[in-house]
């Protein structure tokens, strides 16, 4: 698949996501606190790259030939491996690769990796998801 359209990380989106995961650290929420800690703006919560990965997964699930029923998709595991934190103002691009597809007892397990880079092409974070598509009962 081609890389996603560049995603501009907005300050208010970071704050909205931070509140949704019950983050209370001021570096996630308050630009002054983030600057005092040495960042240019608020730092995104650790799991924030899922917002960008969700956009890539939506495209994968929307492919007509995958035949995946959305309500039967269960998250198996998830990992984020960072080179540097995401801060508001970053312009990020994700490249999704399906790294493994396995069938196990009527269920399909799909592992997808999103490599997220900044506007300079530098690696920021890799998000890896395994999705389990439950078979018909």
């Amino acid at each position: 698949m081609p890389p996603t359209e560049p995603y501009l990380v907005g300050r208010e989106k970071v704050r909205e996501f931070a509140r949704a995961v019950f983050a209370t650290n001021p570096v996630n929420l308050d630009p002054d606190a983030a600057r005092a800690a040495g960042y240019s703006d608020v730092v995104a919560p650790t799991t924030f790259p899922i917002v960008i990965q969700q956009l890539t997964l939506d495209r994968l699930l929307a492919e007509p030939d995958t035949g995946i029923d959305f309500s039967r998709v269960v998250h198996g595991d998830q990992r984020f491996s960072y080179s540097r934190p995401i801060v508001a103002g970053d312009l990020l691009t994700a490249q999704l690769t399906v790294t493994s597809v396995k069938t196990l007892g009527g269920n399909a397990m799909v592992t997808a990796e999103s490599v997220i880079t900044d506007e300079h092409g530098e690696h920021v974070v890799t998000a890896t998801s395994t999705l389990v598509v439950r078979g018909e009962d």
Partner: protein
């Protein structure tokens, strides 16, 4: 600042108890863009054989790391975070679901050859997240830069 010398494997560095309500699920759906209806519609959850509306695994993952963020003091010092989703969290429409989170030092990785002041190394923090007396995440590991 925390250094590897001040930590011992097995130390509990943070604990928290968090209640997830249906409102929290809707807020997370909007913030994350994950609008799978099994996270807010009882009828859809029942129709695919689930015991009820489930919390997004990613909400549980996102909430579970917060005690570690508060302990280390800076979200930018988390360099790696992984979990396995082993058991669903069913969120009751009235009483919600309570998560009990415990964060323990799992492994210390201070570079013995490096100057400790220049590179204090990393620590792996292992999370236990329990709901209704049973763990819901497996291999929940956070690597923090000390």
């Amino acid at each position: 600042m925390t250094t590897a010398e001040e930590l011992t494997v097995g130390d509990v560095v943070a604990e928290a108890s968090v209640e997830l309500s249906r409102d929290a699920l809707v807020r997370y759906a909007g913030a994350s863009g994950d609008f799978n209806p099994i996270h807010y519609r009882d009828d859809v959850a029942a129709s695919v054989g689930l015991p009820g509306v489930l919390a997004h695994g990613m909400l549980t993952m996102g909430v579970a790391v917060q005690p570690v963020v508060d302990w280390i003091g800076d979200p930018g010092r988390i360099v790696d975070y992984q979990v396995r989703f082993t058991r669903p969290v069913v969120v009751d429409p009235e009483s919600g679901a309570r998560l009990e989170i415990t964060a323990k030092v799992g492994k210390l990785d201070a570079d013995a050859d490096a100057d400790a002041d220049a590179d204090p190394g990393t620590a792996r923090i292992d999370l236990t997240v329990a709901y209704d007396g049973q763990t819901v995440l497996g291999k929940a590991q956070v690597v923090v830069r000390l």
